[in-house]
Amino acid sequence: MYPSEYRYTKDHEWVKVEGDFAMIGITDHAQHQLGDIVFVELPEDGSTFSAGDEFGTVESVKAVAEVYMPITGEVTEINEDLEERPELVNERPHDDGWLIRVRITDPSELDELMDAEAYESFVEEESK
């Protein structure tokens, strides 16, 4: 379910490292909790955020969820397909439904995040 090469946060974001860059999205668990996603608001290219900063919102018909930076970085690309097709976040949360791509500032921050196994137990624990 959760790709083993990704890293995860307690706020249900994922990070996929690609060299100096990282893709960021929300997890399958998060999209499922939100329900039908109809609107995604993302930052401008070039904006920088610290780990833990709110960088956008994902809205379902009924709910608004803020998304937070798992690591510090500069936004180099946003997923423009989501403007027309926000439902991609529901359908393919771990790949086509990605949110932003960032240049990683401090790779050591990645060590603070959960691996897939730890995240899966975290979700299980949380839904008890």
């Binding site: 039908d36 608001e41 809205e59 018909v61």
Partner: protein
């Protein structure tokens, strides 16, 4: 208020159908099953089934039943005939709203008030306090009464398979008492979705068999159980007020656009009449309007509404993405100067002002 959520007789059914349950006005209710959009479209295109057993039912019986109801509600109860229903309001002396409700006339000395779940306790003390001096018997039948709403263009087709009566002869806002799947019931052609449909009331112990029978007969028509999420988007598209969002103890009946159920000319004065007459003569200060969001964003309950210069002129009371129209819609109170259709307004969505436009409403109207 107790922290323990109340449950309807259908709670176990919802859980076995995979519903996500949430607390709503003190009740543990299904918010969605297959998904809000899927359920919403099922109701608009075919048929959906809702558990609304949390709603309250008060029986009003006795020689003074009519006079009592006239004295506390705004609509003209004397106009009802046996088997007819109307929408009405309980109002405070200030003209603000205790609750919105339906009144059913069984016969001239026997009525039902169907009230909102979250207001049952408040309404019950309100009606009992106002009953002094009337020769009536009041019974709170809420706990022993279940209610299932079957809604959508195919609702009649599905329900017809479970009743003897020809449902095509039951007009909108009419009801009858009779068996549904061999269970004693009240069958009412009403709903909160903007679609054709029925609300079926029965004793709590029969709710499960009735629910299952409707799902079974509806299977070939694509019936879907639908939760509170879809109920809310359906009613909003149809511009139906939700107590606690669009109307409450701080909003008066006229600014809420409910003047059509306030009958100043009926014989008996009702609680709130004088205040509402004065408000009518003085003119409204603000009005509940419908709007469409034309910029990028979704309006939500509580977001401020601004004019073109950025001054706050109102507040959003209901806002959502509309699954039928595929755009963001909402309702809110605005200063009367901004209440005409086509007026450009802005919704303050977090840090951004998002363009919106006042529209006439309802957002959706079914083809009859």
């Amino acid at each position: 208020m107790s922290d323990v959520l109340k449950t309807t007789p259908l709670c176990a059914e919802h859980i076995s159908l995979g519903a996500r349950m949430v607390g709503f006005s003190g009740w543990n209710m299904p918010v969605q099953y297959s998904g809000l959009m899927d359920e919403h479209h099922a109701v608009r295109q075919s048929v959906g089934l809702f558990d609304v057993s949390h709603m309250g039912e008060f029986r009003v019986k006795g020689p003074d039943a009519l006079r009592f109801l006239e004295s506390i509600t705004t609509n003209h109860v004397a106009k009802l005939t046996d088997g007819r229903i109307h929408y009405t309001l309980l109002t405070y002396p200030e003209g603000t709203i205790v609750d919105d409700l339906l009144i059913y006339r069984f016969d001239e000395n026997n009525y039902w008030m169907v009230v909102n779940a979250g207001n049952i306790d408040k309404d019950w003390s309100w009606v009992t306090q106002h009953a002094t001096g009337f020769d009536i018997e009041l019974t709170n039948e809420s706990d022993r009464t279940a209610q299932i709403a079957i809604q959508g263009p195919l609702a009649e087709t599905v329900l017809q398979q479970l009743v003897d009566r020809d449902l095509s002869e039951v007009p909108y806002y009419h009801f009858y008492e009779g068996p549904v799947n061999a269970v004693a019931a009240v069958v009412s052609r009403t709903g909160y979705t903007g679609e054709d449909g029925f609300e079926v009331y029965c004793a709590s112990e029969h709710a499960v068999s009735l629910w299952r029978a409707m799902l079974d007969k509806g299977a070939e028509h694509g019936i879907k159980p639908a939760g509170l999420g879809a109920r809310d988007t359906l009613r909003l598209e149809s511009r139906m007020a939700l107590y606690g969002n669009d109307i409450d103890q701080t909003t008066n009946a006229l600014e809420a656009g409910l003047g059509w159920v306030v009958k100043f000319k009926k014989d008996d004065p009702f609680v709130g009449r004088d205040a509402l007459l004065r408000i009518k003569e003085e003119g409204l200060v603000r009005k509940l309007v419908c709007f469409e969001v034309t910029g990028r964003g979704i309006a939500r309950h509580g977001y401020p509404i601004a004019n073109a210069s950025g001054e706050t002129i109102g507040v959003v009371t209901s806002g959502s993405h509309s699954p039928t129209l595929d755009k963001a819609i909402g309702m809110g109170y605005v200063d009367v100067a901004y209440s005409e259709p086509n007026t450009e307004i802005a919704i303050q969505v977090r840090q951004k002002a998002v363009a919106a436009c006042v529209v006439k409403g309802p957002f959706y109207q079914r083809q009859k």
